[in-house]
């Protein structure tokens, strides 16, 4: 087991290099560079940017640029952003990272407390009215695009009812301690709901399907036959088995979460990694794109590793060699 984990960690390194090469190659394959989208201010001549391109080495061949960038990382620096003049990539990411983490955790929290119990309930009483009701609701959640749902909740809960703030992460820099915490949570509710909506629906469906599967399997029949109570069967056997695919999903949730975050963050003007990422992709701010990709890559790889480890904990029959 330990050997397995160590081996998986060692595989990280070549994988990250591969990932960075792919992403760098892709980013470079697309036409345009950090300055090509900025022109069109007639007060600023197009020629002005030539010197800056040269300064950044953008006129060099792609492999040279890659090595230049990678060697900086090896020295522990992601370099400086191009769009955000005079900012290190680290500082930009640090500033936004926590916002997205809060948002993601909050969304996940909403997802889990809603999806798991409902999923279990539906599986225990399949084809009941409530099952159909939640199914329909779940698919409603899936069928509504993120940006649109965001707009609807802003309209209802912020503009019409005035319960929650519509935009941003905090009202004032003057808040501290508990007041700041409350204010942040208050700002998280609408974007959290929006981001959590789609995954709530999927988790509900998965949970229902998994629990139903397990409930139908032999060992549950056996347990029931032996006279175990329904609840005992559910909690001792069923859930444990049903959790396996859910864990797989959780391990992979990071990528989609970021994808959803890009749109949600935009609707709520929530300054997180998602908006930084898409802005940087569009502006060809390579240092930022690469840094976020790498960090996300690490997070996803670690997430999947953890999921694999959990597998073997939940289901001891699974062996790794």
């Amino acid at each position: 087991m330990y050997q397995y984990i160590i081996r998986r960690f060692l595989i990280f390194i070549p994988m990250l290099i591969a990932l960075s090469i792919i992403v760098f190659g892709l980013a470079k394959a697309a036409p345009g560079d950090p300055f090509s989208g900025k022109i069109l201010d007639p007060e600023v001549g197009m020629e002005v940017y030539e010197k800056q391109r040269a300064e950044l080495g953008l006129d060099k061949p792609v492999p040279v640029q890659y090595v230049r960038w990678a060697s900086k990382i090896a020295q522990g620096s992601f370099g400086e952003s191009i769009t955000y003049k005079g900012r290190s990539v680290e500082s930009l990411i640090k500033e936004r990272f926590l916002n997205t983490v809060y948002l993601g955790l909050f969304a996940l929290f909403i997802t889990l407390i809603v999806a798991l119990p409902i999923g279990i309930y539906s599986a225990r009483r399949p084809y009941s009215l409530i099952d159909y009701g939640t199914t329909t609701f779940g698919f409603f959640g899936l069928a509504v695009p993120n940006f649109f749902f965001g707009l609807v909740v802003i309209y209802l809960f912020s503009i019409k009812l005035g319960w929650f703030p519509a935009q941003g992460t905090i009202s004032s820099t003057k808040l501290t301690g508990i007041a700041e915490f409350k204010d942040r949570i208050h700002h998280l509710v609408l974007p959290g709901l929006t981001l959590g909506l789609a995954s709530t629906a999927s988790y509900m469906r998965y949970m229902r399907s998994e629990v139903m599967d397990v409930l139908g399997s032999d060992f549950i029949r056996t347990a029931k036959a032996k006279g175990m109570s329904a609840n005992n069967v559910l909690y001792k056997h069923t859930l444990r088995n049903a959790m396996i695919p859910i864990i797989t999903l959780l391990g992979m949730e990071l990528g989609p979460l970021l994808g959803g975050a890009i749109i949600t963050e935009q609707v709520f003007n929530f300054p997180g990694i998602g908006t930084l990422f898409i802005g940087s992709v569009i502006n060809r701010d390579y240092p930022v794109v690469m840094a976020i990709t790498l960090l996300l890559g690490v997070a996803i790889l670690v997430g999947n590793l953890l999921a694999d480890i959990f597998y073997s904990v939940v289901d001891p029959r699974i062996r790794y060699d």
């Binding site: 990932l19 036409p31 998994e210 992709v281 990709t293 996803i300």
Partner: protein, 305 residues
């Protein structure tokens, strides 16, 4: 499914078909499916949606791409029963023709993704070991590869983004999730007694995979596939929202709903977003009910027999 067509006992070991001995499992499944009222309703609704997409030209005389700049964002009228959009195009015609594109995207991405996910998930989960490690590392790479960078690059390199290309981009970036789920299920099946039994009596890999493993994974696969289909229609609208979807004037439900980017449309023009929203919802729901029906009918582990 054709593997279930034969006279074998179902793979998972519990023989409960003693009183229906003279029917093949496929016939049994079909019977079960046809008895499922919701699945039938789902079939009918889905059929209606597909039919209205196919026969769109018969249902409206408007051209979904034809603009009328003198009638922009009009309320519903007898001429335009769902009003017009921001370029003065008929919303009803766009809804019908949009179904063609959206259904194509939804269905073909789903099929493509499920295929890729199945192949890799099966190889990985069944054989385990080295094969598993390699495939899983590849899925890791794909999961870590940001969809946006990939999509942006490809779109930037091409002069025209077609629906087919769109499907490929999405499928190539979405299969790892499904293959991981299938692999997870297979990994635990691998250690179960009946598989061991099958191996002992000398069943081929192919036979074990198709007879014993796949039927057991059918539940999660169907659930996943229905979810995927819904997700794909939505993904297209999300991409439209950030300006990377199927470009105008081609109508899709996604870019119709993404017209509602501001409070004006949301508040004053519900006729612009309710119909495509409802269309997506109905499609997704009907596919789900069909999926549930299939799952109940074919999944050997399903409770509802």
């Amino acid at each position: 499914m054709q593997t279930l067509n034969e006279q074998d006992i179902n793979a998972d070991g519990h023989v409960n078909g003693s009183m229906r001995k003279h029917r093949s499992p496929f016939q049994l499944s079909l019977r079960r499916f046809l008895k499922n009222k919701l699945a039938i309703v789902g079939m009918i609704v889905f059929f209606i949606i597909v039919a209205s997409a196919v026969f769109a030209p018969l249902l409206t005389e408007h051209d979904p791409k034809a603009h009328n700049l003198l009638k922009v964002e009009q309320k519903p009228s007898s001429e335009h029963i769902l009003g017009t959009d921001s370029s003065g195009r008929d919303n009803f015609a766009r809804l019908l023709y949009g179904a063609r594109v959206s259904l194509t995207i939804g269905i073909s991405t789903m099929v493509f993704t499920v295929f890729l996910g199945l192949v890799f998930g099966t190889l990985s989960g069944y054989y385990g070991g080295k094969v598993d490690s390699i495939i899983m590392r590849i899925t890791d790479l794909f999961l870590a590869l940001p969809f946006l960078v990939l999509a942006l690059t490809i779109i930037a390199l091409l002069k025209k983004v077609t629906v087919g290309l769109f499907v490929v981009i999405i499928a190539v970036t979405s299969w790892p999730t499904l293959s991981r789920i299938i692999r997870g299920t297979f990994l635990s099946l691998r250690e179960q007694e009946f598989v061991l039994g099958a191996r002992v009596i000398g069943a081929s890999d192919f036979r074990i995979i198709f007879r014993h493993f796949l039927p057991n994974a059918i539940g999660p696969i169907i659930v996943n596939a229905t979810l995927l289909m819904a997700a794909m229609i939505i993904v297209e609208s999300g991409l439209s929202f950030i300006g990377m979807g199927i470009p105008q004037p081609t109508p899709t439900w996604g870019n119709m709903i993404s017209e509602a980017q501001g409070l004006r449309i949301l508040r004053y023009h519900p006729e612009a977003w309710i119909p495509p929203g409802l269309a997506i919802l109905l499609t997704v729901l009907s596919i789900n009910f069909i999926g549930d029906g299939l799952r109940d009918a074919f999944d050997p582990k399903s409770d509802r027999r």
